[in-house]
Symmetry: C2
Subunit: 408 residues, 2 copies
């Protein structure tokens, strides 16, 4: 089926090149579609690597192998297959990944372990090795591609290409960060997976890059949800080519490390928001801010309970400031909460405070806020200092249409 572009889509940004990164795309034909579906990034020697992966225990071979590669911390190439997730395919899936790694390592004269592979699409069908072999041969010969071409090629049922760019000053050295991402949870009939890739010319030691990425992930990718369904293949990788020439960052004590961390966090937040903006059937972008929790982690869990509640999400879809459903979601989160201290606001207007409806609460400005595309829900638990913000989209007929009305 053809999906309409999300009403929450953003235009693809003007993205500068990153020294040490060359992108190429080709058509492997993993599905019967008339589009490029294989993305290749060649990375300068010495590029540092970090990654975070799905916690789904039924993960793909790509994720299993990637976890090992991240420990070693260096990358020379990235291959992304779109149209087949290669998940739940046992030893045959693993063989396909290893074939790709070997073929690329041969061509670049690098170690197999430095070739990262991701796949996204149908579950349970081993990635066809012949198509992969021909596709890799083609992509190695292809002309360099733009960031937008790469962002489009890694997509499956995404309705718009998603990229972001930012920069940081490390002392006198300006470093650039570019990111591309696809998906939004388990996104479509047989498709899956959020795949995100961040490239920077900054020089960063792998262990520190991993520390930064894990920390940035906690408040960004780990704080979004579309439908509560965690894919088997979610992957975010960061590549630092070092071509900017700054003194390599190895810890937060190094000059510029805080600026880099801030830029990386900003990048992750931008990419995470883009995924929510392409959530299945999404009509509204919802930020849920939780304050007054016993800890930040508790605030995040309460926020996710609200953001995952089908009743809260359908209320927002219907423009209904139904704070009773928010109360319900807070109460079921399994985290400390006291009904009689709870406050709930929509668009900054408090509907309930101290466990009671606010006297003379005027729903008019709230109703107006809920007509918009960007919805803010604030919940104050009144217990402590813990806080967190999570992001989600509403739940609409579009979600059902995408996932139930069409057969895979």
């Amino acid at each position: 089926m053809d999906l309409e572009t999300s009403p929450l889509a953003l235009p693809f940004p003007d993205m500068p090149s990153i020294e040490g990164v060359t992108l190429r795309v080709a058509r492997a034909g993993y599905k019967t579609w008339d589009r490029a579906d294989l993305t290749f990034a060649e990375l300068a020697e010495g590029t540092a690597l970090a990654g975070v992966f799905t916690r789904n225990v039924c993960c793909s071979s790509e994720v299993e192998i990637g976890r090992e590669q991240v420990k070693q911390g260096r990358a020379r190439a990235l291959v992304v297959n779109a149209g087949n997730s290669n998940a739940f395919t046992g030893y045959r899936g693993r063989e396909a990944v290893e074939q790709i790694m070997a073929q690329v390592a041969d061509a670049l004269g690098c170690d197999k372990g430095e070739v990262l592979v991701s796949s996204t699409g149908v579950i349970g069908v081993p990635l066809p090795k012949d198509k992969a072999r021909e596709g890799i041969a083609k992509v190695l010969e292809a002309e360099p591609a733009s960031w937008e071409q790469a962002a489009t090629t890694i997509g499956t049922t995404d309705t718009f290409a998603k990229g972001a760019t930012t920069a940081a000053m490390l002392g006198d050295t300006r470093v650039t960060l570019n990111g591309i991402i696809k998906g939004s949870g388990m996104i479509a009939p047989d498709m899956a997976t959020m795949l995100g890739y961040i490239f920077t010319d900054a020089a960063v030691e792998p262990a520190f890059l991993q520390q930064c990425l894990s920390q940035a992930n906690a408040g960004t990718f780990s704080c979004i949800t579309v439908d509560s369904d965690t894919s088997t293949s979610d992957t975010v990788l960061a590549f630092a080519t070092g071509k900017a020439g700054n003194a390599p960052l190895a810890s937060f004590d190094d000059p510029g490390a805080d600026a880099f961390m801030a830029a990386l966090t900003d990048m992750c937040r931008q990419l995470a928001h883009l995924v929510v903006r392409d959530g299945e059937g999404a009509q509204k972008f919802i930020a849920v801010s939780v304050t007054g929790a016993v800890s930040d982690e508790s605030a995040r869990r309460v926020g996710l309970a609200i953001a995952n509640s089908p009743l809260v999400k359908t209320a927002i879809a219907g423009g209904d400031a139904n704070w009773g459903r928010v109360v319900m979601a807070v109460g079921k989160a399994g985290e400390p909460a006291d009904r009689d201290k709870l406050g709930i606001a929509f668009g900054g207007v408090w509907a309930a405070k101290q466990g009671l409806p606010v006297e003379g609460y005027d729903e008019a400005p709230v109703a107006k806020h809920l007509e918009g595309r960007e919805i803010d829900i604030t919940v104050d638990l009144g217990l402590g200092e813990g806080h967190a913000t999570v992001w989600t989209c509403d739940l609409t007929h579009g979600y059902i249409s995408i996932n139930a009305d069409y057969r895979s």
Copy 2:
């Protein structure tokens, strides 16, 4: 809005009377609707009481008070208000409940603590005390009502009246169990709550009745889900009038205790299934059986992860044997699982075994099974002896229509 009767509805059964239980209904007018909305059950002196309640920490005053009453173990009356859940209403809600308890206790000459009260409907509006007072006065004078009338009156947006009856032989004494129930999770725009009531003429000590009910609850009400949203007011109460004249049951060592437990479990399962059959927008009744888990509790959690997955539920709605989504749900459950030992079957036909699609898997009989109203999903984890079955319904456009398209 008028909801059509669920296609999964069952006819109301022929329910015998229970000695020691008199039902009455009246119209308190909690909402502007033309129907009885106050249900009253008078119970013989000495009736034993047991109850299980929502785990939602933002629970209603009714639930808080009910928890205390269950500890004392005796009941003389039950009052159920429909149209207003009285949840999240602070001290004003509590006052309304206490007024009802006092009024009924006065009329019956019993202790306030022996009057159980439940409320279901809109959250955040204190139950109007004047309407409650007039309603109670009316219902105390009303003619006895039938089980079907009571089952209808406790309903809110339920599309059919839900009741069940069963019996057990305790030695030579036949005892009867009748149950009525409403709701299915957080069921409708502003409505909430599953409320279930079981009445028996068996003589059972309160502590043992509680033990039996808690045990029966674990494998029945705790194993159903419609939309993963736990209401603020869920309540199941059991009343045993003792009028059957059996030697009172006080432990599983007593003759007849096993038969009573089996009948009570059967009753709870029947009522739990009726709730799923009236799930919002439900078109299909889904049983998810998990075997080979490390424990029964782990099996239940994996089952609920599958049953709560919007992607699994929409796949079933679309008649799609999408076992990739089942793999995903198993993997995200947070329980021990090994991708390469996993087996998945629909309607008894294995689609995957040992972590791989079954060679020569014929989807035709599976597609036929998925066209029906009753769907079986079996997941074998291949790790241990733990097993559980959970029940849910599919996720359809009807759910979105009920919860988003209409304002509360």
